[in-house]
Amino acid sequence: MRAPATAATLPRLLAGISDEGPCALEAHQRLHGPLPPPLRSKRERTALLDEVERARLCGRGGAYFPLAQKLRAVLAAGHVRAPRYVVANGAEGDPSSAKDRTLMRLLPHLVLDGVAIAGDLIGARGAVLAIGADAHDAQSALERALQERARADEGRPRTELVTVPNRYISGQETALLRCLEGGAPLPRFASPPHQRGLRGQPTLVSNVETLAHLALIARYGADWFAQLGSGHEPGSVLVTLWGAACNPGVYEVEQGAPLGALIDAAGGAAAPLRAVLCGGLAGGWVDSSEAAMITLDNRALSKRGLGLGAGTLLLLPEHACGLAETARMLRFLAAEAAGQCGPCRHGLPAIADCFEETLRGHRGARGSKRLLELAALIDRRGACSHPDGSARLLRSALRVFARELEWHARNGLCPGCEAEPILQLRPARAPRALAISGAREGARSLR
């Protein structure tokens, strides 16, 4: 293992960022050294797989599935000689998340290193990096990076850059595979990608941030990785901090860091906070009094019914209306559903309608009871987890904004309902003010 250029401190992933744009190959290699040579034997491959397992690296796309387990499943699936593929998932369909796009834009070589190493580990025939069609900045950074490293990558399988539609559902792994086959982003039922993936072959589908962590673990080892974070959830994680923060942006934080420390690193809250949306649109709201106590790791968050999910933390100021924000999100989730499964196709629009009517005071006090009923009717009844995430968001809003709900049931719309949305959902993505300097400061000051 190489001696780490970045010690047991942050930033790790974000160590290579600069104000000058994407980190070039030379600068990247000066910082982290060259990409380790291809694995030559089964012994070398097993050793690195064990290292990844020991590092307990879990998927940063939202599900936090252990990467080593996924890699082993891909290796065990299909015929011994079956061609295997890597699909790097950079679709980032959740409009409240910008960390993957930022990572690909600023550190394309780190992501591409991770793709190459994942390919080595499963003996891949090829790799595809899937990226949202509107993420032009990240696309051009990756295209340039691929040209830059063409010579260094000789002898390795080719990585192809493919754009996928800007839809919320595009990042769902089976929907993503359908996109890569030229279809629409539609999830499928059963047969996971490790059995039937790209071209029908065993495929590793992994989030781009996860692969960037892999690139560092392959160089510096599991022990280095575990010098940050907790024993159960080691390492660092990228988060997108939005809303009422003085310096919103993408930050790298240690797993288990207090949310309060992240907000401090972002220059503090820009206004008194009412609540925080944790994990993205498929995540959940947490009251500001509770938010002050939460730490950014799934073990702690799950006790409150929350998770890191896509890594979004949206700070809702007191003057905004959390119910109005949620109403827009639920309408967005209804519109962005694939529409293949009955309960989701009928249930999500019914939820969005009922939520808006409740907000306007048209449902009186019965609105929330009906909403809970509808949440139960969609939960875990789709081919993918889209309805589950929507039900989670809905339930958390009813719980955290119970006070506002009562007020709305009697009085209808509040002044906060008319205010500018805190989270812009249309156009589907919000590429505003992702302060690079903010990310650096945050990355440094959190450890």
């Binding site: 996971p192 499964c341 009955g342 249930g347 009844r381 993918c384």
Partner: protein
């Protein structure tokens, strides 16, 4: 013999409702007509009916599985 439970492929299911008519003990329908399946294993005395429900689905969306299917 391993225990079996009913699962539905929600993409194929078109709310025909035949399964719920054949096997109300284990299958209810929601307000849109889609099946709500009992989470329990199918008891031995209902297994024949369950197989008939599986065969009768015009969309082939109802399945008997040995264990919980992993979701995509």
């Amino acid at each position: 013999m391993s225990k079996q439970r009913l699962i539905v492929d929600p993409i194929s299911c078109d709310a025909h409702g035949i399964c719920a008519e054949l096997l109300p003990e284990l299958i209810a329908t929601d307000e849109w007509g889609y099946p709500l399946l009992s989470e329990q294993h199918v008891p031995a005395e209902l297994l024949a009916l369950a197989r008939q429900a599986v065969r009768s689905c015009p969309r082939r969306a109802l399945l008997l599985a040995a264990q919980r299917e992993k979701r995509a």
